[in-house]
Symmetry: C2
Subunit: 432 residues, 2 copies
């Protein structure tokens, strides 16, 4: 779920064309979002994205049309060595320019393939073809070099055409290190942009939306907002465009203060922070360790915690207590509790958390038990009912939470994991 | 990684336009891949995808251009009630047609919102505006109705313009139940399409590519192939287009036989099968249960297993044995083994698998221990080194595997989980 709340007028006009039949059938196109977001962060604007199959004549037409509209055109993909890689040819034809073979470029490609002990087929020579007047862009990862071409325009900024390789690992460094700085210099000189993402947990999107209405309903000039929700988390993006670095910084500081006043108690981090990385930092600062006992999340909380490199400093592991018998054998949940209150109960969550804390010797024990569905729900205990338990840090300290997480097995499990991480984070990092 | 191996010529020409500023900045566009794949499976072809911001005049231009090229145009998004939802207006303007207010449609919208106990703002009336001559498409999930319009063309099939809501949960049933059948009838009458996806585990993409070269290098008329790799799994797509249902079925059967001859020992399922669902079916058929001891995957295998509804029939749970102390305390790994062979060793994998089997009483115990990196690697035990252990079904039966999974923490963990599931699957479902 995403909602664009407001948009500041941004100047230069960039288009992207992604080339590849697979993008129209089997693979999701992630370049548009990535390049568009990075352009916005630099005071530029992605005004259109086009996806075309590996078809030279169709691509040639798209390039001609786009050049009639935009300041800069970024083409992604179709720079490989095989017959269906047609971007070089299509752009050259659209511009009425020749392709020039560069032996020096081919030497670089040969050296690269040799390093990987790969045979060098003759067809790789196509990757050393450069459009007349274009500068090659070195590829630090794969074999396909990029290209960039500048066309003078009377009385206007020049027009830029860039050809980038399709794989993200090759495109991304070339875009960040070579193309984006050049585009900023040409089209966004004198524009100063500052952005921040505030990451919220434990507050519904609609509630956050309402609490932030003071900012978003009447945005100050040059400030725009986006609110995005998913997987039990809400992200609030703020972008500021100003004519000086100082003005941009001041406007962002003002927005930050307003966001913290409105929803600060639910902001767990900013920028690249994730729930699991923020929790890791909080636990490390305390010198605490954590263990989990997971029933309905089945290991998903451990998976998220251990996605952070270095998580072994504070995460010990725990028990996937899926079957009742495992709850009893490995976490010491009493059969009497299972018989009277049931596996999905605050009592069971408490015994799981205390049991896994005891079994592992962790500072904190975290437990999740619930009904992820689609089956297994009753009137008294419907699908989406989840209990969290937290034991520690002191002996006998414990806390339980009841959640109603709606329907949808995957959604319930993701939201339960996020709520569980949020519960520990609030305990480990109490607010001032 | 994706590679289009060949493409059969397909007749009608469909374009998609996705409307939404968020798609050019923050959200990945998943509609192109989905609609494109479904069209291909129906003998149609997605020839271009365009993404535009919420900007009426830009959208109007895109619609005019597209109608000059395609047989059918599908617009996704921009049908909401707010000021920045402009698809209805833009399409009407591009066609030179009026928007007509339909009180009956508004009654439906009002009833829907009332059911959710929501206030009905006046602005929702915009959702009851229909382009002159268009038929509304009921929305079973949200409030925005879709629309479809047919324009006669002299001597040709008519042209179709469809407006669908943006959220996938609303778009998908409308597309599947109303639009796709109509498009098939109009543009692919007499075309019979059959598709199959073969899902492989335990074979690298390049090896699969080589073994399947007999099919893919010289494809039979009307047959096309795509090979896709990711997360330790390879998917091989086959699409057949023929002039009769019988011919399509025969051609697909021929392809299926050839695929099974070439890579059958690594095909774990077809169609919607996942490793975890295939393994669930195999364990259920045997009446076996499974428990896991996860070190470097941190719970990821349990998370995948429990993503399948009903997995409690065969999955008991297990131990997230991240810290060495937890390996010892909960899985009975001997401190001597940890001291001599280390936590990342075949011996430790064996003791983990046997320990979790014993602790839970499962038929099979599965263990994973390895170095996911980026730190922690040595010359003798580099990042990417992973050991799998499988204990059972018989007393004393065990099997260990050493894997070298390259670099990249997330990639190593995903590939280790896939390899572990594959190991159990081959044990539970031995090939004839």
């Amino acid at each position: 779920v995403s909602k664009k709340i407001s948009r500041a007028a941004l100047p230069a006009n960039v288009e992207i064309v992604c080339v590849g039949s697979e993008l129209l059938e089997t693979n999701v196109n992630t370049h548009e979002r990535y390049i568009g977001g990075r352009l916005r962060d630099s005071g530029l604007r992605l005004s259109r994205g086009t996806t075309v199959p590996d078809d030279e004549s169709a691509l040639r037409g798209v390039v001609r049309e786009a050049l009639g509209r935009c300041d800069a055109l970024i083409l992604c993909g179709g720079l490989g060595p095989t017959f269906d890689d047609v971007t070089r040819e299509a752009v050259a034809a659209a511009l009425g320019r020749k392709l020039v073979y560069k032996p020096a470029l081919f030497s670089v490609i040969k050296r690269k393939l040799a390093r990987h002990r790969m045979a060098i087929p003759e067809r790789n020579k196509r990757q050393a073809l450069v459009i007349e007047g274009a500068r090659p862009l070195a590829n630090g990862v794969g074999s396909a070099p990029g290209q960039v071409l500048t066309l003078a325009r009377r009385g206007r900024t020049p027009q830029t055409i860039a050809l980038l390789p399709g794989p993200f690992a090759e495109l991304s460094p070339m875009f960040e290190e070579r193309l984006l700085p050049a585009l900023k210099k040409t089209y966004a000189r004198g524009t100063h942009v500052r952005t921040e993402v505030f990451r919220l947990q434990g507050m519904a999107e609609s509630v956050a939306d309402e609490k932030l209405a003071g900012l978003t309903r009447a945005p100050r000039p040059g400030v725009s907002y986006t609110i995005l929700a998913g997987s039990g988390q809400v992200d609030f993006h703020v972008a500021v465009v100003a004519s000086s670095a100082k003005a941009a910084a001041a406007e962002l500081a003002r927005a930050r203060a307003a966001v913290m006043r409105a929803v600060g108690s639910h902001v767990f981090g900013t920028g690249a922070a994730s729930l699991e990385s923020s929790l890791g930092a909080a636990l490390t600062a305390r010198g605490w360790t954590l263990a989990v006992a997971e029933s309905c999340t089945g290991g998903g909380i451990g998976e998220r915690l251990t996605s952070v490199a270095g998580s072994s400093r504070y995460f010990l592991g725990g028990v996937i207590a899926y079957a009742n018998d495992v709850k009893t054998k490995l976490c010491g949940v009493s059969p009497a509790t299972l018989a009277s209150a049931g596996a999905v109960s605050a009592e069971c969550a408490r015994e799981l958390a205390e049991g896994v804390r005891r079994a592992t010797g962790a500072t904190l024990g975290l437990a999740v038990t619930g009904i992820a569905g689609p089956g297994g729900g009753t009137a008294a205990k419907p699908v989406g009912l989840v209990y969290l338990g937290l034991a520690g840090p002191g002996a006998g300290e414990h806390e339980e939470r009841e959640l109603r997480l709606g329907t949808g097995r995957a959604s319930i499990r993701q939201r339960a994991a996020a709520a569980a991480l949020g519960l520990v984070l609030r305990r480990a990092r109490p607010r001032a």
